[in-house]
């Protein structure tokens, strides 16, 4: 745990030691702000549903951007040899790095709190529960996408390839919900269950269902497990 924290701190500091975190935070805030405000006043509704619909789409490109270097850069520069010969388990390295990406995503989500403040100031009959679960859903979706990004980062030592693989896998998860109508009935249920959007929409309605939490936890666990195995695979190459 202590080692995970050390890796987490180093990675988070590394994000902010380079322009990457600042560019990410600013562009993320501007994009979401633009998409949200262009429709917010037209609809005239006191909720953040537009924001909660837009953020997963923005995640599609931003999260692979954050995660692409987390392991592939270490492999490319050779620093993986440094951390892998420290008395630290590969699992702790993966979790520490993963948590740093989730922390950056959560910080980015804070930038959208400006819209919540606007809503709370000017809106009526706000469903604070739905807002809270909506944000929780966004953090969970961000966490799922970050685990996929970690996996794609461990596949290769090339950051660009890692970025593309990350987008491709996240896009598939994002697409599941959109292609349901084309699916035969016997498989539609499985595809729907695998869809991130389906579980996010459940949570965004203000209901925290353990099935949704189990889904997010399972996907995160699955991809982090694969990532750890990939990091360990250097021993046998």
């Amino acid at each position: 745990m202590k080692n995970t924290l050390s890796i987490f701190k180093r990675e988070l500091k590394s994000f902010f030691d380079s322009p990457m975190a600042y560019v990410f935070l600013i562009v993320f805030a501007l994009l979401n702000g633009w998409f949200f405000t262009t429709t917010f006043f037209l609809y005239g509704q006191s909720d953040l549903r537009t924001l909660f619909n837009i953020v997963p789409l923005v995640y599609l490109f931003f999260i692979p951007g954050i995660t692409m270097g987390l392991i592939s850069r270490e492999k490319g520069l050779g620093t993986i040899e440094i951390i892998s010969t420290l008395p630290i388990e590969d699992r702790d390295i993966v979790i520490g790095k993963y948590l740093s990406a989730v922390a950056l995503i959560t910080i980015a989500l804070f930038s959208t709190s400006l819209h919540f403040i606007t809503l709370a100031t000017f809106g009526n009959s706000i469903d604070y529960g739905a807002v809270f679960t909506g944000y929780l859903g966004l953090i969970l979706v961000g966490s799922v996408y970050a685990s996929i990004g970690m996996f794609s980062s461990a596949v290769t030592d090339n950051q660009v390839i890692s970025f593309i693989i990350g987008i491709a896998i996240i896009f598939v998860f994002w697409l599941f919900d959109k292609v349901l109508i084309f699916m035969p009935d016997f498989i539609a249920g499985i595809i729907q269950y695998l869809s991130v959007e389906y579980h996010l929409s459940n949570i965004s309605r203000g209901v925290i269902d353990t099935r949704n939490i189990i889904y997010f936890g399972s996907i995160i666990g699955f991809f982090l497990f694969l990532t750890t195995r990939l990091v360990e695979s250097r021993r046998w190459s």
Binding site: K2, N3, S6, I7, K9, R10, K13, S14, D17, S18, L77, G78, T79, E81, I82, I83, S84, T85, L86, P87, I88, E89, R234, R235, W236, S237
Partner: protein, 314 residues
């Protein structure tokens, strides 16, 4: 004690390391010498737990690195060959990060940091970003990171690469000092560096150990206790030259060649003796004029070339 037992590593069809075995004892500085691609770095990577062997074992005391990787890694300080560093970090922060993972407390870190900064002469760059440090400083930062937890075992892959001659002497002295209380295994393809620093040399070639011993032992073994002497004389009769063996039994005359104005004689003699005085007296007795008398013993470079089958070091 470290025991490497029948260690092999294959990358596909390429056999990088072929069933090598050796032991390292406390208080010993051992040099791992070999041309590029000989299998040095692969062996060191296996010994640090970074990669696994295809077969064989590395024991630290009674513990196998494969089964006790993290536990053994606590006792190892490792400087990888290419010395990868987090270039965006400040030197102090980087060493702090390494210390944290190594389990060094906040209070102990201050002393440990001060010690390695002095040992590795990092005072000038302690608060500088690693990316802005020279290659020599980067090498010393890597060495400081390997030393910060005062490990029992130091594994250094090409530790003096990128250092200037003064820095090389400093690091050499540091390694020698550390070798008095630790096991130090350093690899290099620079013969002079190995010869000047270590107590024992292991020469590896194409994945196999071809020699193991102190430089003196390697020299004696290779030369089979013989040394050469080149003698150039004028006014010498060939029969007198051949009779020299009867007067000085320890020598063997290997070759006699007549030049225009002198005769060149190649002589072999036991390396633990010195026949020059006897030869001089014999020459005076026979009225020879000695133009040149030079002894030559094999050096480590000759041995290295002979053992690795290369005419040129890479």
């Amino acid at each position: 004690m470290i025991k490497v037992e029948n260690l092999s590593k294959h990358y596909g069809s390429v056999k990088a390391v072929k069933s090598i075995s050796f032991e390292l004892n406390d208080g010993q500085v051992v040099g791992f010498l070999g041309a590029n691609g000989a299998g040095k770095s692969t062996t060191l990577k296996i010994m640090t737990g970074y990669i696994s062997p295809s077969s064989g074992n590395v024991f630290y005391g009674e513990k196998n690195i494969q089964d006790n990787t993290s536990e053994i890694q606590k006792d190892i300080g490792y400087l990888p060959e290419l010395n990868p560093l987090y270039s965006e970090m400040i030197v102090h922060d980087y060493l702090k990060f390494i210390s944290e993972v190594r389990g060094i407390s906040e209070n102990d870190f201050k002393n440990a940091f001060q010690k390695v900064v002095e040992e590795c002469s990092l005072n000038a760059v302690a608060h500088r970003t690693i990316a802005n440090c020279s290659k020599g400083y980067k090498q010393r930062i890597g060495l400081a990171a390997a030393l910060i937890h005062n490990p029992k075992i130091l594994i250094l892959d090409e530790p003096v690469t990128g250092l200037d001659p003064n820095q090389i002497v400093e690091i050499r002295e540091l390694i020698k000092k550390l070798g008095k209380e630790k096991i130090v295994l350093m690899s290099s393809h620079i013969l002079q560096e190995i010869q000047a620093t270590v107590d024992r040399i292991i020469i590896i070639n194409e994945g196999s150990i071809v020699a193991d011993g102190s430089s003196e032992e390697l020299l004696n073994d290779s030369a089979k206790g013989k040394a050469d002497l080149k003698l150039e004389v004028s006014n010498a009769d060939e029969n007198d030259i051949r009779d020299m063996k009867a007067t000085i039994p320890s020598i063997d005359i290997k070759n006699i060649s007549k030049e225009d104005s002198f005769t060149r004689i190649n002589i072999e003699f036991p390396s633990n003796g010195d026949p020059r005085e006897d030869i001089f007296k014999y020459a005076v007795d026979k009225n020879w004029v000695i133009l040149e008398m030079v002894t030559s013993k094999q050096n480590l470079e000759d041995i290295f070339r002979k053992l690795t089958g290369n005419n040129k070091l890479s």
